[in-house]
């Protein structure tokens, strides 16, 4: 199947009237090495609207995770600035919750405690009951309704990542950052977790950025797919709006007449 040019695929320019939630302005990441500076990212511009779900795809090592950790505040920004809701980002914080690639739960805590430790930070003045209710609500939403008190180390990888997602949403962040959260899972579990994520996201409408190298995942989840060029000096190469109706259903998306054209367009970008 030949790839359709973008001006045919998405001819109209739709103005998104929602306010900006996240703005990356001229940001760069430079690692000093003995042989001189190594520039991973340079002059990167990105604006994300409130309530938008975007996914970032690119080859391994192109710097997409670096971008995400810079937005999260876990990685220093060499040049430029990141603004969340109009304020410049300094350091990490719960307003930019992260779901990491490895579940990163504290294995000595129960599922509930793992969510609770975050909720306590964000809602210090809530009563114990309220905090518990928040934790239980999200754990229930991700399908751990019966395993509140199981230790994280007793849960399977997929279950642990569910807790990770619950923790992310329970923080009520302004932006939810997902760093290849399903990369370590088998394809069946990955599908289940994509559904879970989408379901919770549909309710919360939190601005979300997901780094992935799975093209199907990026189309299924996102409103907009950002394509990054390969490093060094990586930047945003192209972007594609995915205008499928929400709430989305996997079968409907896969059967959608445009699906393979979107997929073909993304694959074409990655292969060149």
């Amino acid at each position: 199947m030949s790839v359709i040019a973008k001006d045919i695929l998405q001819p109209e320019i739709i103005e998104d009237t929602r306010p900006d939630m996240l703005v990356c302005k001229d940001i760069a990441k430079i690692y000093p090495t003995p042989k001189g500076d190594y520039t991973v990212l340079s002059d990167l511009q990105l604006t994300i609207k409130k309530g938008e779900f975007i996914s970032i795809i690119g080859h391994s090592g192109c710097g997409k995770s670096t971008l995400l950790t810079m937005i999260a505040g876990l990685n220093d920004i060499s040049k430029g600035a990141v603004y969340v809701d109009g304020n410049e980002v300094r350091g990490a914080g719960p307003d930019r919750a992260v779901v990491f690639q490895s579940p990163s739960l504290f294995p000595w805590m129960t599922a509930l405690q793992n969510v609770m430790i975050g909720v306590k930070q964000v809602f210090p003045h809530a009563t114990k009951k309220q905090k518990q209710d928040i934790c239980k609500y999200y754990l229930d939403k991700v399908g751990l309704g019966n395993d509140f008190n199981k230790r994280a180390s007793e849960l399977s990888q997929g279950m642990q990542q569910r807790v990770g997602i619950a923790r992310g949403f329970a923080l009520k962040p302004k932006v939810l950052l997902l760093d290849e959260p399903f990369g370590m899972l088998d394809s069946l579990t990955r599908g289940e977790l994509q559904d879970v994520l989408l379901e919770v996201w549909q309710k919360e409408q939190i601005t979300a950025i997901m780094v992935t190298h799975d093209v199907d995942e990026s189309i299924f989840l996102a409103d907009r797919v950002i394509m990054m060029t390969s490093g060094p000096y990586a930047k945003i190469g192209d972007e594609l709006r995915i205008p499928f109706e929400r709430p989305r259903n996997r079968v409907d998306i896969l059967e959608h007449p445009d699906y393979y054209q979107y997929r073909g367009y993304l694959m074409d970008f990655l292969n060149h």
């Binding site: 999260a72 505040g73 876990l74 350091g91 990490a92 914080g93 719960p94 930019r96 919750a97 992260v98 990491f100 490895s102 990163s104 504290f106 294995p107 000595w108 430790i117 975050g118 930070q121 230790r151 180390s153 923080l171």
Partner: protein
């Protein structure tokens, strides 16, 4: 809980083949398992005792020949014959002084037990006799009269355990907090590293002398048990290094993901230490404590021996100086007792260590 302890201590695995054989399940496989886990270890012990016996007999004969020869050169043929008869008769006065055979060690063990019974009977009788007087003395605010007779072998073991436990606690109380502080900061770690590396290999004997110098001055007018203080502080100082190094290592190598989560959640320093850093380094800390306890038990004997403080070490030393006919055998009894207690302590620590690790 009970099942978990059985499993952790290895008792379950230890008993499983017996149970299966008795029940008649998979007899052939379980008999093989029995062979492997009981018969072969027993055989190796028998082999060890056999070699020991042969070696001891050889040494005994060599020493006996030397004695007879000496008697011959000193007192002629008659003296040699007399010595030979004396040795064969088993008379205590002329036995060759060398490595005792397993049978003699067993006899010495029994005699030590008997000795313990006699001493504890004496002690009970004494306590009964002074009970009334003591009550009066306590009522008056005076110290009660205590038994001051010779301690039995079992008493010595108790004293040693007490010393090693005190030393171990001291080591833990010093090493864990310092380890955490050092582990948290790269600057502190690099600045203390040399000092730690230099002090770590210092011999127990030198620590003892150092502690002696300090304690002697600090406690010059105190009536506390100085020799106990010296020995337990030395034990603590010798053994704390493993815990110190392991704690700082554990704290400094907390999983990067955990550190990132703590950053995203903006945990305070206190929360970070108690909720993230400490729990995640507990397995390492307990590995360190296990090494510390085994080192503490190992150096204890040498330290007690030098510090003249009561315990197994001084027992060994006194027996060595004593030179009675069964002294050597008693020293070997002490050796095995020390070994077995060390083994038991290590097993206990292993269980604790396994309970503390969360990656099961």
């Amino acid at each position: 809980m009970k099942e978990r302890i059985l499993q952790l201590t290895g008792i379950q695995a230890f008993l499983a083949p017996w149970i299966s054989v008795i029940k008649g399940e998979e007899v052939q496989k379980n008999v093989q398992a029995l062979l492997k886990s009981y018969i072969y270890p027993l055989l190796s012990i028998l082999l060890f005792i056999g070699i020991w016996h042969a070696g001891a007999t050889y040494l005994f004969n060599k020493e006996a020949t030397a004695k007879i020869e000496k008697a011959r050169t000193e007192r002629g043929e008659a003296g040699a014959l007399e010595m030979q008869n004396c040795i064969i008769s088993g008379d205590v006065s002329c036995q060759p002084n060398t490595l005792p055979s397993p049978a003699k060690v067993w006899d010495a063990y029994l005699s030590l037990l008997a000795d313990h019974k006699i001493i504890s009977a004496k002690k009970d009788a004494f306590d009964l006799k002074v009970a009334k007087t003591n009550e009066k003395r306590i009522a008056k605010g005076q110290d009660p009269i205590t038994y001051t007779g010779r301690p039995s072998f079992v008493d010595q073991i108790k004293t040693s355990l007490k010393t090693v436990f005190a030393g171990f606690l001291l080591a833990a109380f010093i090493a864990i907090p310092i380890g955490i502080v050092i582990g948290l900061s790269t600057t502190l770690r690099t600045s203390f590293n040399w000092l730690i590396q230099i002090l770590k290999p210092v011999s127990p004997v030198v620590w003892l002398l150092l502690v002696f110098m300090i304690v002697k001055t600090v406690m010059s007018d105190s009536d506390m048990d100085k020799s106990f203080m010296i020995s337990f502080i030395s034990v603590g100082l010798c053994s704390m290094w493993a815990t110190l190094v392991n704690t700082s290592m554990g704290v400094s190598t907390v999983d990067k993901d955990f550190v990132n989560v703590a950053k995203v959640l903006k945990l305070s320093i206190g929360q970070n230490i108690f909720k993230v850093v400490l729990p995640s380094s507990l397995p390492m800390i307990f590995t360190g404590l296990r090494i510390t306890l085994s080192v503490a038990w190992m150096v204890l004997i040498a330290i007690e021996l030098l510090a003249q403080s009561p315990g197994l070490g001084s027992f060994v030393w006194e027996e060595f100086q004593n030179g009675a006919s069964d002294s050597n055998a008693k020293i070997i009894v002490a050796m095995f007792v020390i070994g077995m207690i060390g083994f038991m302590l290590d097993r206990i620590m292993m269980v604790v260590q396994k309970m503390m690790s969360f990656n099961k």
